[in-house]
Amino acid sequence: MIPLSWYLILAAGLFCLGLYGVLARKNAVAILMGIELMLNAVNINLVAFWRYQHPLELAGQVFAIIVFAVSAAEVAVGLALVISLYRRRRSVVAENMDLLRW
């Protein structure tokens, strides 16, 4: 059978890949994709802990569903921001968004 650590390491790897995407990508849409990967890593952890530690309680599943809702909201607003920025500034490169830099 699969020990819990396998799932945790899988989630850690997915999280770090997502983090790399967030830090290294230029395109704002690609950065959001990295965030999605990180959220998925979190969900794997939540479900794995639910299954291994408290399979009879529902908190793990409920939290995972809430994460779905939150990530949907995040994507909706995030991509709307990207599209709006693109329409104003003709660019989706995150480094160019420096209006607030002093």
């Binding site: 850690a12 790897g13 770090c16 849409v29 530690q53 709307a80 599209i83």
Partner: protein
């Protein structure tokens, strides 16, 4: 190696490879397709964890809706950002190093933790993946009714916010 372990390793390998392609592919529509592949693999992981409902929801929400939104955003913002040219910024190696270090640290912590080696507790099949319990808990005042209603308000706020931000009559 039991068959289930082989299945897990195959799934996690394809998950990690897809995720790697998501963050490195130059063509963003392809990156979105790799994202779909990795999200699907996460659904398979949920199935392995006996969370069938979450697996299906993962596919409905992520592949059916979020991934499509991503593909649209890529198509709508495409003109300036051609596929040629590097898609990573100048600090990509710092980011890579940092991610690797974080992964190493996390693995070290996980492997050193006492509970990491525990195996799946045996539960009668009826207790797992019990959707009706989940539904009851979601509207139970002693359960999760507040997150449930807050999620609805959050979604409403996201909808209105996104419309206000993206909508522009001209």
């Amino acid at each position: 190696m039991t068959p289930i372990q082989v299945l897990f390793i195959l799934t996690s390998l394809s998950l990690l490879v897809s995720a790697f392609m998501v963050v490195t592919t130059r063509n963003l529509v392809r990156a979105a397709l790799w994202l779909i592949s990795s999200l699907f693999m996460v659904a398979v992981v949920f199935v392995l964890l006996d969370a069938g409902f979450l697996a299906v929801v993962q596919v409905v929400v992520y592949i059916g809706a979020i991934a499509i939104l991503f593909i649209f955003a890529v198509m709508l913002t495409r003109k300036v950002m051609q596929d040629t040219g590097p898609q990573s910024n100048s600090q990509w190696w710092v980011a890579g190093l940092f991610s690797l270090l974080l992964f190493g640290g996390l693995s070290w912590i996980i492997l050193g933790w006492g509970g990491a080696a525990q195996t799946v507790p045996r539960v009668t099949a009826g207790d797992l993946d019990n959707i009706s319990d989940l539904g009851r808990a979601l509207v139970d005042p002693a359960g999760y009714v507040v997150p449930f209603e807050v999620a609805s308000v959050l979604l409403l706020a996201a909808l209105i916010g996104a419309i206000v931000v993206a909508w522009d009559r001209n």
